[in-house]
Assembly symmetry: C2
Homo-oligomer: 431 residues x 2
C-alpha cells in the first residue's frame, strides 16, 4: 500500500466506527503516523439505522465522510480497504489493496449480525447493521405493500403485511415501534385500497422481557408502550428457522407466515483472520483484551469497541456492545498509545456508565441513568437530544433535526422511497 | 390488475414525473377514476440530480413519494408497474403486474438517455437521468480518487482524475461547474496525498457554444464562468467512442484517457411498444400529438411532457424537453379531459415560455427571461429560489435549503459517501 515512510511510529486503525474515530481524534497532532482503514468511506451512526429503514431519515444524514473527520490532522492517511489477514509475527496486514506494515495495530472493527450458524436465517432474513442493509429493508417493507395490492387472497396479503422482528433489544424495540407508527399514521392514507388494520407487527424475544440489558422498569414500560401501539410481543419464544415464508419457533404450534423477518437477535465481534485463535476469542466472538485494551500475547496489538472484551470478575461478559464503551475505550487508548511510545506507564480503562435508553415512538422513550430512571415524554426529548449530540457533523444534526420536527408535527415519514428495489422472490406466497 | 370497477371513466396515466403529477392534481375531485402507473414509487426532481452526483444533496431530498401526492384524492389508484405494451385497439395495457383496461390513456413517460445507437458508449459511460444512476456516478467519482491513491504511475492517476462530460446543455454545464468546485474546495483537503491540481474537467460540446438553447449572452457568460473555474471546454467536438478507458473524437488527434465519461449529450422520448409506429414518432423519438396533446389516430390516447411533441410551423421540433412544458401540458390536459368527458370543446395548449436558467457554481448562474437576461450572483439566487419553489414537499425544501446554506457557508458537500460501490473494472488502466 502506498503510504509514505515516516520517522514516527505507524499506528494502523482498522475501522472508522465510534471507537476508531474517537481514537483517531485523540492521536491528532501527536508524534505518530496514523493509517485508518475502513471498508466504507463514511462513519455510520448505527443507533439511527432503524429510522432509515422506516423512512424517517435519509441515509446520508446519519453517515459522515471519514476523510472529513481526518482532514486537518497531520500525518493521517485514510484508505478504503478490506483487511483480509493479520500477520502478527511480521507486523503486517494483508488487504484487498495491498500489504501494510504497522508498528501498532488497533482493531476497531465493531460487530456484525450473529445468526448463530443458522444458514437459512442468514439467507432469508433481513439484517440492519449497515446502511445498505437498512435501505434494503426500507425497500422490502414498501415493496410488500405494493405486492399486497396485487392479490385478493387474504392469506397471501396477510403474510405480506406481517412483520416479524426477532430480538427485543433496542434495535428490535425501536423498529417495532416505528413500524407500528407507520401502520397507524401512514399506511391508511398511502394504501386506501388495502385493509391496513390487518398489518401485524410481531416482536419475538427469547428471554422473559424486552430490553433485558436495561432496568425492569424500562422493560415493563416499553412493553406497555409497544402493546398500546399494537405490537404483539412474544416473550420466552425462540425462533428456530425461516425459509423465506414461514417462521418456526420452539413453542408448540407457533409459526408465522411472513415475507419479512428482521433479525435483530444478536451481534458478534467482527474478527479478522490471523488474530482469531481460540485462546484469545471469548464470548460473543470478541477479542479478549486487558485493561489497556491490549490483546494477550501481542503487546503491539489493541482492540477497542464491540470487537474487544475486557473480561473482569465484575464484568465476565465485557462491556456492552454499544457506542459509549467504544467511544470511551477509543479515547483512553489514544492517550495510552502516546504514553506507550514515550515509555510511560499505561492507564487502565475505566468505564463510566452513562446509562442507556431506547425510544418506542413519539413521546415514548425509556431512559435508565445510573441513579435515575424515567419514561415517557421527557425521556423521549432526552433521547433525541442525546442522539443529536452524538451525531457527527453540524449539517447532519440540522437535517436530522428538521426531519424529526417535520415527522413529529406532521405524523409523517417522507423517505418512503424504493430507490434500489430489493426484489424479493414472492413466488412462495402464491398458491 | 386489481383496480375496482367504477361508474366513472377510467383515465390511466403512465409516469409520475412533472407532466403526470400536474395532470393528476388537476383531475382530483373530478368525476373520473384515475390510475397512475410508474416504475418508481417516487417523483424525482431531475433538475437537481447533478447535485446528488456531486455530493451536494442527499437523493431522498429530491424524491417525493407519489402515493403521498395522491393521498387525499378520491378515486385515485397508484400501482408500481412497468408497462410493456399498449394494445390500443383493445384499450388495454400489458404490464409486469397484469393487464389493465383504460377509457383514456395518457403517456407521461418522459425521456431517457439517447446514446444514438452507440452501444460501447451505452455500456461504458455514466448517464444521469435517474436517482440510482446519479448515485452510481457519485460512487464512481469517489472511488476514482481512492483508486488513484493506489498507484504511483502518473499516467494512470491522471486518467482516474480526469472527468469527461459529453454534452454542453444544462446538465453538462451544471455538472462541470460542480466538479470544478469540488476540485477546488474539497479534494485538496480530502486527498492531501494526491496532487489534485492535476484533476481535469473536460466539457465536450458538439456545437459552437454551450447552452445552445439559451441566449448567446448566457452561453458566453457560462463559458466564461466555467473557464474561470478551470473547466476545459471543447466546442465543435464530436465524441465517437469510449471503450471504458479512451475517448475518441472526430477531431484529429484529440482523445482523452479517463475512467469517467458522463454522457449528457442527448435524451429521447421513452416510448412503449404498441404505440411507436413510424408515422406517429417524430424527431427525438417523441410522439406526434396535436394541440390538445392527442395522439394522431387515437382520440382516447394523449401524450404530455418530454415524450410528446406538438409540432407546428413555429415549433418544428416541438417544445423543449424540460419541466415547464411538461407541467403546463399536464395542467391543460387535465382540464381538457374533463371537457372531453362532458362533451365540451377542448382548449389548445399554449406554451408560456417562462424562460430558462442554469447554474455554474456559487454566485454564478445565467437566467434568460423572455424579455430580460442576467447573469451572476442575482441570477444564482433566482435559480435557487425557483428550484426550491418547484421542489415538491415542505420537508424536501427545508432539507435542500439547509444543505445549500451549509454548502455555501462552508464551501462543502458532505454527501460524499460511497453507500453502494459502483465497482468499475479498473484493470484497463494498469500497465
Amino acid at each position: 500500500m502506498n503510504i509514505p515512510k515516516s520517522n514516527y511510529p505507524r499506528i494502523v486503525i482498522i475501522g472508522g466506527g465510534f471507537a476508531g474515530i474517537s481514537l483517531a481524534k485523540k492521536l491528532s497532532g501527536k508524534e505518530v503516523q496514523v493509517v485508518l482503514l475502513d471498508k466504507h468511506n463514511y462513519h455510520n451512526f448505527q443507533p439511527l439505522l432503524y429510522q432509515v429503514s422506516t423512512g424517517g431519515l435519509e441515509p446520508d444524514s446519519i453517515a459522515y465522510p471519514i476523510r472529513k473527520v481526518l482532514k486537518d490532522f497531520p500525518n493521517f492517511y485514510f484508505r478504503l480497504a478490506n483487511v483480509t489477514q493479520i500477520v502478527s509475527d511480521k507486523k503486517m496486514l494483508v488487504t484487498d489493496i495491498g500489504d501494510l506494515n504497522y508498528d501498532y495495530l488497533v482493531l476497531a472493527t465493531g460487530s456484525e449480525t450473529n445468526f448463530f450458524g443458522n444458514a437459512d436465517m442468514e439467507k432469508n432474513s433481513m439484517a440492519m447493521k449497515t446502511i445498505p442493509q437498512s435501505l434494503d429493508l426500507r425497500s422490502l417493507i414498501l415493496e410488500n405493500f405494493e405486492q399486497a395490492l396485487l392479490t385478493d387472497e387474504m392469506h397471501e396479503r396477510d403474510a405480506l403485511m406481517n412483520f416479524v422482528i426477532v430480538g427485543g433489544g433496542p434495535t428490535g424495540v425501536e423498529l417495532a415501534g416505528a413500524l407500528a407508527e407507520i401502520k397507524k399514521g401512514i399506511l391508511p392514507k398511502d394504501y386506501p385500497d388495502l385493509d391496513t388494520r390487518r398489518v401485524q407487527i410481531n416482536l419475538v424475544q427469547a428471554s422473559d422481557r424486552v430490553l433485558k440489558e436495561m432496568s425492569e422498569q424500562a422493560s415493563r414500560k416499553s412493553e406497555d408502550f409497544l402493546e398500546k401501539l399494537g405490537v404483539q410481543i412474544w416473550k420466552d419464544t425462540r425462533v428456530t428457522g425461516y425459509d423465506g415464508k414461514t417462521v418456526t419457533t420452539m413453542t408448540d404450534g407457533l409459526t408465522f407466515e411472513t415475507a419479512t423477518l428482521i433479525w435483530a437477535a444478536g451481534v458478534k465481534g467482527a474478527l479478522i483472520n490471523g488474530l482469531d485463535a481460540k485462546d484469545i476469542v471469548v464470548r460473543g466472538n470478541r477479542l479478549k483484551v486487558n485493561q489497556f485494551n491490549q490483546v494477550e500475547g501481542h503487546p503491539e496489538i489493541f482492540a477497542v469497541g464491540d470487537v474487544a472484551s475486557i473480561v473482569t470478575e465484575e464484568n465476565p461478559c465485557g462491556h456492552p456492545m454499544m457506542a459509549q464503551p467504544a467511544i470511551q475505550q477509543g479515547r483512553n487508548l489514544g492517550d495510552n498509545l502516546v504514553r506507550l511510545i514515550n515509555g510511560k506507564p499505561l492507564k487502565p480503562f475505566v468505564y463510566k456508565d452513562k446509562g442507556s435508553m431506547a425510544t418506542i415512538g413519539r413521546n415514548k422513550a425509556v431512559v435508565d441513568l445510573p441513579n435515575f430512571r424515567f419514561q415517557g415524554v421527557f425521556a423521549w426529548f432526552v433521547w433525541m437530544f442525546v442522539h443529536l449530540f452524538f451525531l457527527i457533523g453540524f449539517r447532519n444534526r440540522m437535517v436530522v433535526f428538521i426531519n424529526w420536527v417535520y415527522n413529529y408535527v406532521r405524523f409523517d415519514r417522507e423517505a418512503r422511497l424504493i430507490i434500489r428495489p430489493y426484489k424479493k422472490d414472492y413466488s412462495a406466497f402464491k398458491d
